[in-house]
Point group: C2
């Protein structure tokens, strides 16, 4: 199996092994790079529109899927919205457990994001199959995917009509975390960090763009003032 | 007034003047760069999470605001979701007209996006005040802001509970357009185009990131196959 692991994923695994994520994932450590994000700042983790991984666990079953369609919904208490198709096993787990996690994968996880977004976890545990690794979130038990740069643990806000009619799920964020190599002083800051840590933004058909650089512009408010 | 126009905006105006947008905006032309996007592809305009401008018109009153919190909701018929705070005048116009437009501003409109996102249009028409220019959308009459790189005209899907409880508005896209310098063959393609045409992604407090480059990765689906 190892010999069939694509090069990018092997590189990634090696990267995880030499940084502290690996130890954290195995030993429950909370390394310096995985910092708690205050709840009143956690909407900033999704403000810029990254593709996310949605994960959930219920009764010993786990799953993770990719979703380009998620967004913040409120500041405090922080809420999020995410579209979960009726066919997805993750949706079943969210409905039964009442919890889910959104994680923000970086460029280094592009292949993983593509894979978990194109296979079903109903008949096979994607984690056991080696498509991703994770540990249970301390607040909800939902799997937090290793190697991501942010994680939001959420409690489902039941809205049966919205869920049925639009596949739209709402959640209250109860805990949030970010990799402090790229989320510093309460905001994303990719300057000086490795490009493999930039967030992924889905275009179409498995094509992603990485987030780019800071935009410099004149912030004076009103040309007519 | 002209002398107070910030440099970036002056540059932008010059850019508009030398391309065909200016003539289109003034004369109602539909230049080659503003192409109709098939409705079954229009979710792709928002897939990658750009900050948008939300605009609406009702009874001769117009407004435009910035929103980082929007996303696609369905493919066909295409639907979108956007958060509109109760304090915004745009929300009032959406409620009374039943229509709104989402437009995707590029880097060249960062200052404009910041300005219309930080002033209220309730007491003053932002267009008349020179903060932005627009023409009525052919499908809905909602203002389509000049200089953007994509536009989605939407019919509000009334969901009073969702709107009241979460400030969450849903819409069906009835027409969509994109600048074919950066949206080609049914997807965003910023390669080779001027960086001023890249989309804006709000981080926090008026700080934006531009969308970056294509992510290369191994697309083979399953390491365990």
């Amino acid at each position: 199996m190892k010999s069939k692991t694509p090069f990018n994923l092997r590189q990634l695994n090696r990267g995880i092994r030499v940084n502290r994520f690996h130890r954290w994932a195995r030993c429950g450590e909370n390394p310096a790079m995985r910092q708690s994000v205050p709840l009143d700042r956690c909407s900033r983790l999704l403000n810029h529109g990254p593709t996310v991984l949605v994960s959930a666990e219920s009764g010993g079953r786990r799953n993770v899927m990719a979703a380009a369609w998620s967004m913040p919904l409120d500041f405090m208490p922080p809420k999020v919205a995410v579209v979960l198709d009726k066919q997805t096993f993750t949706r079943t787990l969210v409905e039964t457990s009442g919890h889910f996690a959104l994680a923000v994968p970086p460029v280094a996880l592009a292949a993983l994001t593509h894979r978990v977004g194109n296979t079903s976890g109903r008949d096979r545990d994607k984690f056991d199959a080696g498509l991703a690794s994770a540990e249970p979130g301390p607040a909800t038990g939902a799997p937090l995917v290793d190697g991501c740069v942010a994680w939001l643990e959420c409690r489902r806000i039941p809205e049966p009509h919205t869920e049925q009619a639009y596949d739209l799920f709402l959640g209250e964020v109860v805990a949030a975390w970010a990799d402090d190599r790229v989320f510093r002083n309460g905001r994303w800051d990719f300057d000086g960090a490795d490009d493999s840590l930039r967030t992924l933004h889905h275009v179409a058909g498995g094509h992603f763009l990485a987030i780019g650089d800071v935009v410099a512009y004149d912030t004076s408010l009103d040309p007519a003032a």
